[in-house]
Each structure stands twice: as structure tokens, then as C-alpha cells.
């Protein structure tokens, strides 16, 4: 019997996350974050690992980098035809991988550096980000056997079924240098574990790694699908990615405001705030009530220029941050941070709903 795929089955209820960023925009090699996942090995079960890396394609930094899984050569041909209708493809190549016994049954994994065709943008009367987002949703919902798992500029996601430390070796991450990295080890509890279902989930330059199990999935999904998103995988992280994209890119909220929507404080906490803040929090919680995410989560959200760490308002998952020189570290466990930097300091456990936002200095990447 064929194993059911992600999106076809839901199995009810852990995970490991880690991240590092250089505020100075200095290059960090991918093996640093790969090593960080080792002491958290038992938080995953080998059914998914992945990384998001920012600043890794400086030579193509004005082009969208699509990372795509294909289950067959013919699917790739079909997908390339679709891409050619909408983009100038500057480069298309296999993503370099390493054959290792721990990672098997890999799909065909390609990357394309593309620029949207000006004529198409003019015809559809949308900006290039919206154009790319629509293309990604279209491929992932309509083109069976093709899955775009990364679509931002000068960034890329790398994910697979396996333990994260093996996934890092598989994708030869030591050959990449980025100013910021996030990582995830998966313990899938709701879905069977498929390459596309591993974290990070990504749209444009936004990426999310998530440890938790949100109980508001269906309420959030129903709301967000009214705005053109399609949740294809039944995993809660996908919906978080779309919610953040909707609030940041389309509603133009600040990151702090996004945090106050998805991890809204309790009414009792809101009522104890000064008048002005109370008014703002009440507004956000009322207008975007369908985007409140309940249930346990700790996430690291990455974008072109920074990282945000956030826990659910009850802080039902662990997360700790630390610093050393220009670097900031975030992880589910202090041991992971100590692996990256034994002498890290300023260890801090953010409160539930308290975002930790780190930005790279202007002009540094």
C-alpha cells in the first residue's frame, strides 16, 4: 500500500529549533548551525530536518531563487515550461547534495534563479512579490509532483526527511555562507513526514521554523484562505507562514504588532496596560481575532535582514536566546547555543508572547 502523503492524512500531536544571526552581516558557515542540532537529536525522530539561510546567493541577489522538489523528470519539464511563461530563467541547476546512507528516497531537487517578466507584471497589475507568491501557490496546488519550498531573494531553504544534522550534511551546508541561519528538527505528530512537509516553511524571503502544535489550525486556515493562500499540507507551520506574510506584507503591520496578533495577550493582561497600549492591543486582538494562534508554539521567523523569535502566550515550549560579539543565538535548548558558541553570554528566556527581534545593521548585507 502506498504511504499517504502530507495533506492526505492528519495524525493528532515536539521538535527542535535553533538560529544564529550576525548583526554585522558577517558570513556564517552552514556547518555551525548543523552542529547545533546534534545535542537536541532526541527532540526529532528522523522524519524531517531543514534549514533556512540568508545571504547565501550574493551573486544572484536581485533574482528570486526557487528551490523545487520534483518527483519525476517529466514534472520538471512541465514546471519549467510554466516558469518560462512567467519568468526569465537566468540559471537552473541541480542543488548539490552528498549521497549519505542516512538520507534516502530523495526527490529531484533543483534551483532556479529567476526574474519575473515585466510584461506579465504589467498584465496582472501586481508587484513582483505578489506575482511570485501567486506563482508559488499555483505550482504547489496545481502541478502534481512539483513543490516549491523556497522562493526568496538571496536566501534559500534546504529540507529533507531525516535528522537535521544529516540533512545539513546531505545539502553540503558547509559550502554556504550566510549572515543568518535557522534550523529545525522535526518530530511530526499530525502528518506522516514528507520532504515538502519538513520545516522551514517559506514564502518569498519569509521562513518559519516551529516547535509546537497549534490548536487553532483550522480557524486560522479558514480565515487565511479567504485571501488567496492555499494550505496544502495540513501542517500548522504552513499556516503560520501565510499568516505572517499576510500581516507583514499585505497589512503592513510591524513585527511587534504581528506578535501581538498571533500571540495576543490575555484580556486581563491587556486591561492592566497603560491606556494607549491597551487601545492598540484591543484593536489588534479584535480586528485580527481569527489570526490568534492558540496552543503551544515556539517559532523563529526569518526574513531578508533579520530574525524574530516568539513563544505562544502561555509559553508552552522552551526557547532561550544568547549573544556573543555581533552574533545572536536562539534555540530550544541552551546546549545547542553552547555548541555554536561555548562562551555565549546574556542568556535570556523570553516570556510568552514577547518577541525577540534581531535586525542586521542597515547596509550590511
Amino acid at each position: 500500500m502506498m504511504m499517504k502523503r502530507e495533506g492526505e492524512i492528519r495524525i493528532p500531536s515536539g521538535c527542535a529549533i535553533a538560529a544564529v544571526i550576525s548583526r554585522e552581516g558577517k558570513g556564517i558557515r552552514g556547518d555551525l548551525i548543523t552542529e547545533a542540532m546534534k545535542p537536541m537529536h532526541d527532540r526529532s525522530n528522523g522524519l524531517g530536518g531543514g534549514f533556512a539561510a540568508y545571504g547565501i546567493y550574493p551573486e544572484y541577489k536581485d533574482l528570486f531563487a526557487f528551490h523545487i522538489f520534483f518527483d519525476h523528470r517529466s514534472t520538471r519539464k512541465e514546471c519549467e515550461a510554466l516558469l518560462k511563461e512567467r519568468f526569465e530563467i537566468v540559471k537552473g541547476e541541480l542543488i548539490p547534495t552528498r549521497k549519505i546512507p542516512e538520507i534516502t528516497d530523495e526527490p529531484i531537487i533543483w534551483r532556479y534563479f529567476v526574474a519575473p517578466l515585466k510584461s506579465m507584471l504589467a498584465a496582472e497589475q501586481i508587484d513582483e512579490n505578489e506575482f511570485v507568491a501567486r506563482t508559488v501557490v499555483r505550482i504547489n496546488t496545481e502541478l502534481k509532483g512539483a513543490y516549491v519550498f523556497s522562493s526568496g531573494k538571496n536566501m534559500g531553504c534546504f529540507k529533507a526527511v531525516g535528522f537535521p544534522e544529516d540533512v545539513g550534511r546531505f545539502y553540503r551546508l558547509e559550502e554556504y555562507e550566510g549572515y543568518s541561519w535557522t534550523a529545525h528538527g522535526r518530530y511530526p505528530t499530525n502528518t506522516p513526514g514528507w520532504w515538502g512537509g519538513a520545516h522551514p516553511f517559506s514564502l518569498l524571503d519569509y521562513s518559519v521554523v516551529h516547535n509546537g502544535e497549534i490548536s487553532s489550525y483550522d480557524a486560522n486556515r479558514r480565515f487565511i484562505e479567504m485571501f488567496g493562500y492555499k494550505c496544502t499540507l495540513q501542517t500548522d507551520t504552513e499556516v503560520i507562514t501565510y499568516i505572517i506574510d499576510y500581516l507583514l506584507r499585505r497589512q503592513k503591520l510591524t513585527l511587534e504588532e504581528v506578535a501581538s496578533v498571533i500571540a495576543a495577550p490575555f484580556w486581563s493582561t491587556i486591561n492592566s496596560k497603560p491606556e494607549k497600549e491597551k487601545e492598540k492591543l484591543t484593536y489588534l486582538r479584535t480586528v485580527f481575532s481569527n489570526l490568534l494562534i492558540t496552543g503551544p508554539f515556539s517559532i523563529v521567523f526569518g526574513w531578508d535582514g533579520g530574525l524574530m523569535a516568539l513563544n505562544d502566550r502561555l509559553k508552552l515550549r522552551s526557547m532561550i536566546t544568547a549573544e556573543k560579539d555581533d552574533k545572536v543565538f536562539i534555540a530550544s535548548e541552551e546546549a545547542a547555543i553552547r555548541t555554536m558558541e561555548p562562551d555565549a553570554g546574556n542568556f535570556y528566556a523570553p516570556s510568552g508572547g514577547e518577541p525577540v527581534i534581531v535586525r542586521v545593521k542597515e547596509g550590511k548585507f
Binding site: 545535542p39 509559553k315 522552551s318 545547542a336 553552547r338 528566556a349
Partner: protein
């Protein structure tokens, strides 16, 4: 005996610990879980960062960690002493039913939840710094003490302390003006008799972490206790 934890997974490390005789020092610990779980007869000193659930079900041993510890330290411990020369993660002393935990720094969320006591089994959790939200949620017995000995503008404990508390006592070294307690909990300033009850815990704290007892006692303590011995009297049937 010394065990170098480098490259050992949690099973190997715990097995090496069980096989060791007498006191034991673990160096280079890096996230190995369940350290010293259930152990009754040793003194274990840990350097590095122990993994989650250190000292779970501890049954009389003494563990001293020279730096920070992660989540779920002393989960359901029965007896013994845990001393942390740093901060601890979430849920320290979860459902502990005996023994003592001393933390020099801060504790995360849900410290001491479900703590309970029976006759000579009187657990105590002493936190030198500040504590996160849900401190002592559903506390049914034992003593939780928070000293607030860190200099920042956070309150001594986060939101919703002692929610569902129905036994035991919580001592916060603060006037607690900015703290909201739930309705079923009664708070008052600790009197001399109550301070005498916790003095031996504070004395130990000062010995372990080298601070001055008189200085500690100069600030007021607020005591939180359940309002009644039977807070659920009217909840189901009158009894």
C-alpha cells in the same frame, strides 16, 4: 570519580554514572537528558549544561550544577537536594513530593507546579532570582520561596502565580504590589513565626551561594496561601 561527557549520549552517560562508586563529577555535559534520574546515594557535580529532566524522580542524591540547567529539573523528585549555580528553564520542581531545590538565578515558567506534601515529605523550592508565570500553579503542599535577587525591572513573578493553589505556602521577597493573585489565594506579609519556618532554607541558600542572611531578611516577604483547606467545597456538592 570523573566522567567526561563529551560524545556520550544520555543513556551512556547515565549508565556510567550508575556504575560509578561514591561521589562523581561530570564534566563537559552538553544537553544529555535525565541526568541522575532516580538516583538515591551519590553526590554528583556537573559542569557544562545538563539536558532536560535532570534529577527527575531523584531519590536522595545530591546534584550540584555549576552553571545553568534546562527544563524540568527535579521533575517528581522524591528526596535529595539539587543546587543550581545559575538559571533554570521551565517547570523546575514539577510535582515534586520531597527534597529541596536551590536555584541561584532565575526560574522559567511553571516553577513548582503541582508540588505536594505529606507528613514528613515536605518539599521546598528556593529561587534566588525571579520566576516566570504560573509559579506554583495547582500547588498542593510544600514551600516555594522566591528572593528576587536580580536587578531588573521585571516583577518578582510573572502572571498568574498560584492559580489553583490548594495547599502549601509561597513566600515572595517583595511587597507584591504589582502582582495579581487569583481569588482563592490569600496573601499577607510574613510574620516572625512564618519567617522562622523558612529560615533554615534561607540559611542553606546563603551557604550554597555565598550571600548574607541578615541582608535577605531585611526585606519584607509576602506569603500566599490557599484561602481554605477545602477550596472546592461548593464546586461539586456541599460537603
Amino acid at each position: 570519580m570523573n566522567i567526561n561527557a563529551t560524545g556520550l549520549d544520555f543513556m551512556d552517560l547515565n549508565e556510567a554514572l550508575r556504575q560509578s562508586r561514591g561521589n562523581c563529577t561530570i564534566t563537559n555535559c552538553l544537553g544529555q537528558r535525565f541526568l541522575a534520574a532516580g538516583i538515591s546515594d551519590k553526590t554528583v557535580t556537573v559542569s557544562g549544561i545538563p539536558g532536560n529532566a535532570m534529577g527527575a524522580y531523584l531519590n536522595g542524591a545530591k546534584i550540584e550544577v555549576m552553571g545553568n540547567a534546562q527544563d524540568a529539573v527535579g521533575d517528581t523528585m522524591n528526596d535529595g537536594t539539587i543546587i543550581i549555580h545559575g538559571n533554570v528553564g521551565d517547570a523546575v520542581g514539577y510535582a515534586m513530593r520531597g527534597g529541596h531545590i536551590y536555584v541561584k538565578g532565575n526560574a522559567g515558567y511553571r516553577a513548582g507546579i503541582h508540588m505536594k506534601a505529606y507528613k514528613e515529605k515536605q518539599p521546598a523550592l528556593v529561587i534566588g532570582g525571579k520566576a516566570g508565570s504560573f509559579l506554583g500553579e495547582y500547588q498542593a503542599g510544600g514551600t516555594i520561596i522566591v528572593l528576587g535577587l536580580v536587578d531588573n525591572d521585571r516583577p518578582i513573578v510573572g502572571n498568574f502565580p498560584s492559580t489553583g493553589m490548594h495547599g502549601g505556602k509561597m513566600f515572595l521577597r517583595s511587597d507584591c504590589k504589582d502582582i495579581k493573585f487569583p481569588g482563592q489565594v490569600h496573601t499577607h506579609r510574613a510574620d516572625k513565626k512564618e519567617l522562622a519556618e523558612i529560615e533554615h532554607y534561607l540559611r542553606h541558600f546563603c551557604t550554597y551561594f555565598d550571600c548574607d542572611l541578615d541582608e535577605l531578611m531585611r526585606s519584607p516577604f509576602t506569603v500566599a496561601m490557599p484561602d481554605s483547606n477545602n477550596p472546592y467545597r461548593q464546586m461539586y456538592v456541599p460537603n
